[in-house]
Symmetry: C2
Subunit: 251 residues, 2 copies
DNA sequence: TCGGAATGTCCGATATTTCGGACTGTGTTC
DNA sequence: GAACACAGTCCGAAATATCGGACATTCCGA
């Protein structure tokens, strides 16, 4: 594991690679001094590098004592590897197709840590477009998609996973976790989620699940439409969404 | 995203952080020239760094054309973050307990990519110990644990996931994927897996699943015992294993 | 067939990062 | 309460990694 080089001097990148590899071997929080010893890195260098990695959320301090372990960024990168970019590629096509079919704004969304986030956004053809920025993180209970993305969790797990503050909607109303879980269950059995007036009063969100081979909802594809859209139109959109969701679930 | 600094010179670590962050944003294979442009990195530097990262399996070349994306190492680090080290900590205790109870070698195992790997190994108290090195990667069909670790996959998925060569046992015998999947199904419903004479003729392996909140088998806890162990003893061991597995599934 | 753009390699100079070691502060043991 | 191990910071010197730019190749479309 120790980095070997004629002079004993090593470059930062190699140090970083050795550090993460070492954490992976240990499989649990590690004291900085241990990293230094076992990777053969000078103490002053280790502190310099570890601090930089903590800033970037590649590592995070753990347990209050001076130990560190992998941070959330590693999880994001790891999921991206698993997706392989193939599903996103396919999702781009589906999102475009939905916009053409419906004229409304379509999005592809996933969980990023304990938040919901828009990965793809294709604005509709309306004069006054409803759309949102990609990459922005939003509390799970604020969205229709959120009701699908946690449908593998039981009540207690939902309470542990979603920060309590996130159950407070933008207008101050509070959703009880129990009610939320009931909506999640309904969405799961219906095969889609529908919400109106959650983030603002004038929009309805429709979402369908994208599931991995294990049946876990790993993403959603959704439409953002005006709240006064007719039921017949909504029904047609829901069918289109579910079809897209099924296609994406295969890749 | 561009790294800002007075002189325009930046250190390697910061470049690496910017590169991975950029790949994460793009969510799919990216040409090296794009990375250079969008992160504001000189071309010569990018090639130097990307090659180093490819060597470390942090990135991997994709699609034959000159694009790269996240590599398997990111997945390993990401899963380690999710586990948080807590389950491993608990597993250490369970493995020790099993050795005390049974006197046999106990192990804690997971999937690492498309291979089975021993994460913890605690040798038993026999004079002639049966044990294996931690970190070594073994084909999934060679092990009892492997039959549990893929129990969320259908036949076609198993064929796609496990390399064909891995169905060849050390002694040259070949397992048909169909037979393997049947054994997987049996292990799943039984709640444990048992194999004899797979890796060598004189050992029996017993394994119980450790499942995450979604019911997915994320690890196994297992015992390696002589093939001539009595059925009564085996039954007792299986019960002990399943109890450990259930406890670990909670964390 | 030619011209231009895109990809990848190589090299020398120098701005920078690494490293050793000294220093402070904190907790633990006898 | 003294001795010691451990955690973290700071600094100057020097080894070297980064950078710009030149060069080689390949791939296109005109």
């Amino acid at each position: 594991m120790t980095i070997e080089q004629a002079t004993g001097r090593a470059r930062g990148i190699d140090r970083v690679i050795a550090i993460l590899d070492y954490l992976h071997q240990r499989r649990g929080p590690v004291r900085i001094a241990d990293i230094a010893r076992d990777t053969g890195t000078p103490r002053s260098t280790i502190y310099e590098i570890v601090n930089r990695l903590v800033d970037a959320h590649w590592l995070e301090p753990r347990d209050g004592d001076g130990t560190v372990f992998f941070g959330p960024a590693m999880h994001f990168y790891g999921s991206a590897y698993l997706e392989g970019g193939d599903r996103i590629r396919a999702a781009r096509g589906e999102v475009k197709r939905l916009v053409e079919q419906t004229g409304e704004t379509a999005q592809y969304c996933t969980l990023e840590g304990d938040k919901y986030t828009v990965v793809l956004n294709e604005p509709g053809s309306r004069t006054f477009r409803i759309s949102s920025d990609v990459g922005v993180k939003v509390p799970i209970p604020w969205t229709a998609s959120g009701r699908l993305l946690v449908d593998h969790l039981a009540l207690e797990e939902v309470k542990a996973f979603i920060p309590p503050d996130d159950f407070v909607l933008p207008d101050g109303r509070v959703t009880a976790p129990e009610d939320f879980v009931a909506e999640v269950a309904r969405a799961k059995s219906a095969g889609y989620a529908r919400t109106t007036g959650l983030v603002d009063r004038f929009t309805t969100c429709l979402a369908a699940p994208v599931r991995d081979v294990g049946g876990r909802c790993v993403a959603t594809i959704c439409l953002v439409v005006p709240a006064d859209t007719g039921e017949d139109d909504l029904a047609a959109m829901i069918e289109a969404l579910r079809a897209s969701g099924r296609r994406l679930s295969l890749a």
